[in-house]
Amino acid sequence: PAPSLPSESLTPVVNRSRLTELVREVDPNEQLDEEVEEALLAIADDFIESSVNAACRLAKHRGARTLDVRDLHMYLERSWHMWIPGFGTEELRP
């Protein structure tokens, strides 16, 4: 079994190249400061933390022990007005 890592040594969920890519998508001439990069990483972490916590609460509320895509969908839609298609819906998907 893999050794469990201490919580402090968490590797970032996004790396620099993916962030830069995303910034280029928004504006090809934009440059990213290192501090801004760190701030964006912190935002991503906070977002993950709150989304998964909320999804866990919702899953528990429906008496489940496993997280379902629906739990996350509901939180995203209600708290962020975010609808990401293609997940857990009855619609046609590849």
């Binding site: 590797t11 969920v13 993950i48 989304s51 998964v52 866990c56 995203l76 046609l92």
Partner: protein, 70 residues
Amino acid sequence: GTQIRSCKDEVFLLQQPLAQRLKQICSKHDMEEPSKEFSALLSHAVQERLKTVIEKLSVIAEHRIDIIKN
């Protein structure tokens, strides 16, 4: 049958660190680890969130430069 054309879904977040985070949060709630689909959706949501922030920052930065110029 119906032919579906699609492109491969690219996952924005790094899988290993994301799995680690999910495991940590889920164990806190005494929940089982979620499916691959769940982390893919989360990844898309994070990408969307960051994109919105970057878009806002980009507008703000442009205004800031304009002030310096004039």
